[in-house]
Symmetry: C2
Subunit: 222 residues, 2 copies
DNA sequence: CCGTCTTCTTGAACACGTTCAAAACAAGGA
DNA sequence: TCCTTGTTTTGAACGTGTTCAAGAAGACGG
């Protein structure tokens, strides 16, 4: 038989059980004792693999991000319009995250804690963050959009921030199928695209420059 | 002697003690037992007045907001430049909130929960929210800025959202004296002001219109 | 097979937020 | 003064996340 570390099996059993229970009953109503019992291990054992209840969802977070990267790349392939590409990427995230909104809410609340390793701005999340920004870079580079070159370099990071804003809206969105979030994307993306295009106009140039500078300065030690 | 309800004294004693301990040791490290002991009451008594530990900071939240309204109004009096007024209001908030950033962080994390009554978007917070938006309306109306009239009506709400963004940045800001947050305000406010002025240009008009429409539609059931 | 060292597992114990039945107190009215 | 009714106060008890000392199970060289 293949040498699969027994410990990996246990670890994965625990996280799978946790995700099932979170989805069934919500994050708060799922106790560590229930997770341990469901996985057939002791509560202490769960803490041997995961340092906290919060930590249990990091794996889940990574899973969503991975699915999103794959699906979004497939969906924008061939499309060259900037707005269409961006819209597809964001709607794709909403599709993938939809089943988890119920407990995803609780999750993203924890992630709002700047001290938490789950924060999208934390060092621990830098890998996932870089991957997401990379996707946005593909959105820009694979499109035929014409941009102020200064803006172009910064745009992926800006778009990632915009995506964080969409997520924040989504967390608060209680409409059926999150259709309000979808509307936000459908209608704000064309606006952004037009703003980006306007950035090449003369009147707009200094403003655009200053925005880029500001972001760069703010990023210097973040 | 004046008829001050004994119960009001107890209530205020509890909240005062709580705020002192929160500021001294942080929110997490302050236990309800410590608060009760510090106030010389039983733990059950604290729960008679406040339904939860979180609820204890609502009073504090209100206090900061009240201070901000007063101080900001005084400081913008006489000033007529839109950018200057807005900048003053935001820097004023940073000044007032500074001593509490340490545990304020924890507080604003709780407030990020959409289900929490502490959320700035919740019904329970609508009074405070309306007051803040009202202040932004004063910022606009007391200034000599020329605006697309459609935008003018919506602007106070947009500025309030912008303020929420600044607060979000501030929560994550670990620089000394929150000088990064100050830089953000100092430099983003002029940008906003220029954008607002640009909104009257012909090329910009349709974009500006659509932004206003989108916000209105999104606000319809929020 | 034995001894030793590391990895894994256990469940009792702890600290904390929260609840609740019961007691103490306050204010009238008879 | 006593009874009644409503308000305030108490502290033991509960459920939860988390810790930890101790033991079980493997891994491996001899």
């Amino acid at each position: 038989m293949p040498h699969v570390a027994k410990s990996e099996e246990t670890r994965s059993l625990i996280v799978t059980t946790a995700m099932r229970l979170f989805t069934e009953n919500g994050y708060d109503r799922t106790t560590m004792r229930a997770i341990a019992a469901g996985a057939g291990v002791s509560v202490g054992n769960a803490y041997y693999y995961f340092s906290s209840k919060e930590q249990l969802i990091q794996g889940f977070y990574d899973e969503i991000a991975r699915q999103h990267l794959d699906a979004a790349r497939a969906r924008i392939d061939g499309e060259t319009a900037f707005a269409a590409r961006l819209k597809t990427v964001l709607l794709c995230w909403l599709d993938i995250a939809e089943p988890y909104q119920r407990f995803g809410t609780q999750f993203f609340v924890n992630a709002a804690d700047p001290e938490s390793p789950l924060s999208p701005f934390s060092d621990d999340s830098s890998a996932a963050r870089e991957a997401s920004i990379g996707l946005m870079r593909e959105v820009v580079d694979g499109s035929d959009v014409k941009l102020d070159p200064e803006l172009r370099g910064q745009l992926p990071e800006l778009l990632w921030l915009y995506q964080m804003g969409v997520v924040l809206f989504w967390v608060h969105d209680r409409s059926a199928g999150q259709k309000r979030s979808r509307m936000l994307v459908e209608r704000s993306v064309p606006l952004l695209a037009r703003l980006a295009a306007l950035s090449r106009l003369r009147v707009f140039r200094p403003v655009s420059r200053e925005i880029v500078d500001l972001i760069q300065d703010l990023a210097k030690k973040d």
